[in-house]
């Protein structure tokens, strides 16, 4: 038996940062993906096709996210806990009906980013 590190090509370099490729899961109770945060923006890519049977909440999410909307805001507007929205989101990502914005928590923010926020707030 080979050592685990020889079997897993993903085991080095960037553990924890990966959004898993489309995974076949049935009857999921917990989200598969990591890296989706409260403030990750969710955007609807396209409407579902006829044969994609979605739950009403998922259709609501698709309608809401025609304007890019953060996970926490989707939860608040749909009246669902964040954990539930994460699971709904997994299906929609599998179907490529939504996209998510790049993770912001990776690494600490740099000075240019902070300056952009400062400039923006000054302009309010």
């Amino acid at each position: 038996m080979r050592h685990w590190s020889e079997e897993d090509p993903w085991a080095d370099e960037e553990p924890g940062l990966l959004i898993r490729p489309y995974t076949v899961t049935g009857g999921r109770t917990a989200p598969v993906r990591t890296g989706i945060e409260l403030i990750t923006l969710i955007s609807t890519v396209r409407p579902p096709t006829r044969d994609q049977r979605l739950q009403p909440e998922q259709n609501q999410l698709l309608a809401l996210c025609r304007v890019p909307t953060a996970l926490v805001e989707v939860a608040a507007r749909l009246g669902l806990p964040v954990a539930v929205v994460r699971v709904l989101l997994d299906d929609l990502l599998d179907h490529e009906l939504v996209s998510v914005s790049p993770s912001s928590a990776a690494g600490s923010p740099d000075a240019r980013f902070i300056q952009a926020v400062i400039d923006g707030i000054r302009r309010i």
């Binding site: 403030i39 304007v67 926490v72 806990p81 912001s104 926020v117 923006g120 707030i121 302009r123 309010i124």
Partner: protein, 204 residues
């Protein structure tokens, strides 16, 4: 074209950068009011069902128990352009909710601790939390009705704040006043980054 929008919220790009600022403080200090004063939407609320280990609640030696708690989190949104949006999170500052703050503070730019001079001690736990975790924060002293009779230096001493930590008198209902608090925090964050860059070795 994208930079001259009249309704920034609808112009937000799908891959826009997002930032998070926390608002902590004791019950009734005005956290949601502060969020509402600068958010482009009325403050939104999520009720989160959170499973927490019941540490110190009813200690049954050797028995690992879990309880489910509902925690309300108020937040607001500030779209600063098509490629940048900031979310402000106000959440309870009681000791029993700190497990939630650990999650919330990951990736946050920093925090505002809102102090109410009538109950100054209620923001002590928040100050402790951010100090111990090395999360940059600024203290906003909420002076209701715009009357600030308190001496900022006395408040600073009462909170035992380190010299560099900003303390700003504010009115949590007033947008301009809230802007000042946020800018004080962000400039503090900038100074921290600059200090870090000058003391730590350069890699690569």
């Amino acid at each position: 074209m994208a930079f001259a929008e009249s309704d920034p919220a609808t112009a937000l790009a799908a891959d826009a950068a997002t930032a998070k600022i926390l608002v902590a403080g004791g019950f009734g200090a005005g956290k949601t009011t502060l969020v509402g004063a600068i958010s482009e939407t009325a403050p939104l609320r999520t009720e989160e069902l959170i499973t927490e280990a019941s540490v110190g609640v009813d200690d049954l030696a050797g028995v690992e128990r879990k309880t489910t708690t509902t925690v309300a989190m108020d937040f607001g949104r500030i779209t600063l352009g098509p490629a940048l949006v900031v979310y402000l999170f106000g959440a309870p500052g009681q000791d029993r909710f700190w497990f939630m703050w650990d999650d919330l503070s990951r990736g946050a730019l920093g925090a505002v601790v809102l102090a109410d001079t009538r109950r100054l001690e209620s923001c002590f736990p928040s100050v402790d939390f951010f100090e111990h975790r090395g999360i940059p924060f600024a203290v906003g002293v909420n002076c209701f009705d715009g009357r600030c009779e308190e001496d900022p230096e006395e408040i600073r001493a009462a909170l035992d704040l380190a010299p560099g930590i900003p303390l700003v008198l504010c009115d949590a209902r007033d947008t301009e006043s809230v802007k000042k608090v946020l800018l004080a925090l962000l400039e503090h964050v900038m100074r921290g980054l600059a200090a870090e860059a000058s003391t730590s070795p350069t890699y690569g």
